[in-house]
C-alpha cells in the first residue's frame, strides 16, 4: 500500500522507506551493466575465437562462436529481464510519492524515490531493447570475417 505523502509533506522523498537502495540500484544499473558486460565479453570472445583465420568464413569457428555467444546472450537477456522486473516493482511501490502522473514526473521530477524508480524503468526498457539488437547481430553479421 502506498505511503501517504502528507505524513511527511516537506521531505523530498516521503516514500524513501518503501524501496530499499539495493533494489533501486538493481533497477537502475542492472540492465545497463549486463549490456556492457555482454558487449565486452562478446567482442573479446569473438576476437579470440576467430583469431586463427580472420580472412575467410570458417565454419568450424562459426560453430564455436555460436556455441558460446548464443547462451551468453540468452543468460544476459534473462538477467536483464529480472532487473527490469525489480525496476517495475520499485515503480509500483512509489509511483504515488507525489501528486501527479508519470507524465508530471517526467516533466518535473518531484519525489526522489519515484524519480530514481523512473530512472530504473527507462534504463531497463532501453537496455533490454539494446540486448535484443545485440543478439540479432548473431544472425545478421558474418561471424568470423
Amino acid at each position: 500500500m502506498a505511503h501517504d505523502a502528507r505524513k511527511d509533506p516537506f521531505h523530498p522523498s516521503p516514500h524513501r522507506e518503501e524501496v530499499g537502495l539495493t533494489s533501486l540500484w538493481i533497477g537502475i544499473l542492472g540492465a545497463p551493466l549486463i549490456w556492457m558486460a555482454l558487449e565486452m565479453v562478446s567482442s573479446a570472445l569473438t576476437a579470440s575465437l576467430c583469431k586463427t583465420d580472420t580472412t575467410s568464413i570458417a565454419p568450424q569457428h562459426t560453430d564455436t562462436v555460436w556455441q558460446y555467444l548464443l547462451p551468453i546472450n540468452l543468460v544476459a537477456f534473462l538477467l536483464a529481464l529480472i532487473a527490469a522486473g525489480v525496476a517495475i516493482n520499485n515503480w509500483r511501490k512509489v509511483r504515488h510519492e507525489r501528486a501527479g502522473s508519470a507524465h508530471d514526473l517526467l516533466e518535473i521530477g518531484e519525489g526522489r524515490t519515484r524519480f530514481l524508480a523512473m530512472f530504473g524503468l527507462l534504463t531497463s526498457g532501453g537496455f533490454l531493447i539494446a540486448l535484443i539488437f545485440s543478439a540479432l547481430m548473431l544472425f545478421l553479421v558474418p561471424l568470423c570475417r
Binding site: E39, S43, T54, E107, G109
Partner: protein, 655 residues
Amino acid sequence: MKDTYDNRTPALSPADDPANAARLRQLWETPPGLRGQLATVDHKIIGIRYLVTAFLFLVLGGLEALMMRLQLAHADQHLLSPAQYNQMFSMHGITMIFLYALPVLSGFSNYLWPLLLGSRDMAFPRLNAFSYWIYLFSGIFIYTSFLAGGGPDSGWFNYVPYTALNYNPGQGIDFYALGMILFGISTTAGSINFIVTVFRTRAPGMSLNRLPILIWGTLTASLGNLLAVPAVSLAFFMLWMDRRIGTRFFDEGGGGDPLLWQHLFWMFGHPWVYAIVLPAMGIVSDGLPTFCRRPLVGYTPVALSTVATMFIGFGVWVHHMFATGLPALSMSFFSAASFIIVIPSAVAVFAWIATIWLGRPVFKVPFLFFASFVLLFVIGGVSGFMTAAVPLDWQLTDTYFIVAHLHYVLLGINVFPVIGGVYFWFPKMTGRLLDERLGRWNFWTLFIGFNLAFFPMHISGLLGMPRRVYTYPAGYGWDTLNFITTLGAFLFAAGVLLFVFNVALSLRRGEIAGPNPWYASTLEWAVSSPPPPYNFAVIPTVASRHPLWETHLPEEGSGRSILDQGAPLAEARETFGVTALDGEPDVILRMPTDSWTPLVMALLLTALGYGALLRNWALCGWVSVGVVGCLLVWLWPPAAPAKTLKYRTMDVRYD
C-alpha cells in the same frame, strides 16, 4: 541536550543580518596581493582562472589552426614544412581537446557549483586549487617542447608506431606523454572533487531530483573521467617507458602490440568526448529555459539521457578502430552501441526543441548561442551517426569528413554553449552585462564563420581529401572548398576577437546587472552579482528545482524554498554536509583556509615531470621527497575536524 561545539544546533538568522555578513566576509575573503592570490582556495577565483586560462589556450590553438588554414588555402603551398605542419595539427588538437575543452567547462563548474548547490565552496577547496595549478603547469610543460627542439608531431591520438623512438627520436612525444600524465592528475583531482561536492555539500532539501542539469552533466563527466583517465595516463606512461626505459609494450618485435595503444587511447578518448560535451549540454539545458520563460521540457529523461550517454560512451571506443582489421562481429557490437548512443542524445535534442516551442523565447544573445547549438549538435550528431556504420566508416575514415564531424561536435557542442554561457553568467561573475549589440555581431560572426569553415570539409572529405596532409595537388576539386574553409576560419577567429573585445569593454562600461538580470530560476541568481566570498549569508533550504520561480510554478516542489532565513554557520569556515540522495544535513563541515600547499605540490610534480624528461633520477628522487613532505603538510589533521550536527528541521519555516 547541551549545545557543545561537537554537537551543536546551528542558530537560524535572517539573511540580511549585517553582523553575520561582516563576520563571514572576514572568514572567507581572500587577502589582497600576490600572496593571497597564489594561496586562495576560493572556488569563484579558481573558476575564473580556469576560464581565462582555457580561453588563452583556445587562442593559442586557434592561431595554430589559422596557420594550417593559410597553408591549405591553395594547392601546393609551402608556408609550412611538413614537419612544422605535423607539429601544428598535433598541438592544435592537444590544445583544443585537452587544454581548452574540458578545463573551460571545469571553469564554469568550479565557479557555479557551490552557488547552484547552495553551498559555501567545493568539498575539497585545496584539491580544487591544486587541480587548477597542475592543469596550468601541464599545459606549459607541453608547450615548452617548442623551446626544446620541437613539439609533438603525431597527432593528438599519438599512434604507435609513429611515436616509437626509432621513428620519432625527438623529445616532443616525451613532453606530450609526461605532460598528459600531469594533466591526468589535474582531471582526476577535479573529478573527485566534483563527485564528492555533489553528493556531500548541497543545500538542505536539494535531493538528487532537484539538481540542475549542469550538475548532472559535470557529475557524469567526472565519473566518466575517473574511469577513463587512468587508461590514457597508463598508456602515456607505458609509451614513455618504451621510448626511454627500454620496455616493449607497443613493440611487436618485443612481444608488444601497437594496437594496444589504440585500445587504451580510445577507451579513454571516446568517453572524453562525452566529458567535454555533457557539461556543455548542461549549460544549455539550464540556460535555455531561462530565455524560454518555462522549465526544461522532460527534466527526468534529460537527466537520465545525460547519464546514459556517458555510460554507452564507454562501449563505443572501437568505432575509432574500424579500419584496423578486427573481426566483423566484434566491430558490429561497437557499431550497434554507436547507433544506440543516438537515442539519449536525441532525447535531449527533442527536449530543447520542445522547450523553445512551448516557451515564450526572449531572443537575447545567450539564447542565440544556445539555440544555434541545437542545430550544430544535430549536424555533428548525424555525421557521427553515419560513421557508426562500418562500411561507410571505411570510406570516410582519415578523410576531411571526419574533421568536419569532430569540429561540429567539439566546437558546435562546446564552444557555442561556452560562449553562450559566458554571456549568461558574465553578469553574475562581474556584476556587469556584456554588450548586447556587440554580442549579436559576435554571434553571427561566429555562426557564419563556423559553418563556412567546417561545412565544406564534409564535401572535401567525400571528394576524398585525406586529413593530416600538409598540402595537396591542384585539380582534385579540393581547391575552392579549402579556400572557403580558410575564409570561414578567419571569420570565426574575428568572432573570437569580437568576443574578447566585448568582454574587455563590458568589464569597464557594461550595464550594471543586479542579482538576477535574466529572471533565472536557480540559486546562484539569489545572491548579489558578483557573489560575496561566502556565497550565501545563510545556507538556503530548497523545496523545488526552481527556487526562484516557485511563485509561478506552484505545482512544483514541496512547499517553498527558504532563502531569507537559515543557518549562517559563521563560527569558522563551515558549510553543511548532507546525505547523498535527499540532501538532509547531517554534519557541519569545517572547510580549509587558504593554503600554499596546492601550488607547491603542483610545482613539485611538474619538476618531477621535467626530471623524468631529462632522466635525471637524482632530481626525481629529491623532488619525490618534497612531494611526500608536501603531502604530510597538506594532510596534517586540522585542530577542529568536521562536527556532528543536530539539525532541527522543524525550526525551518515553510510558507
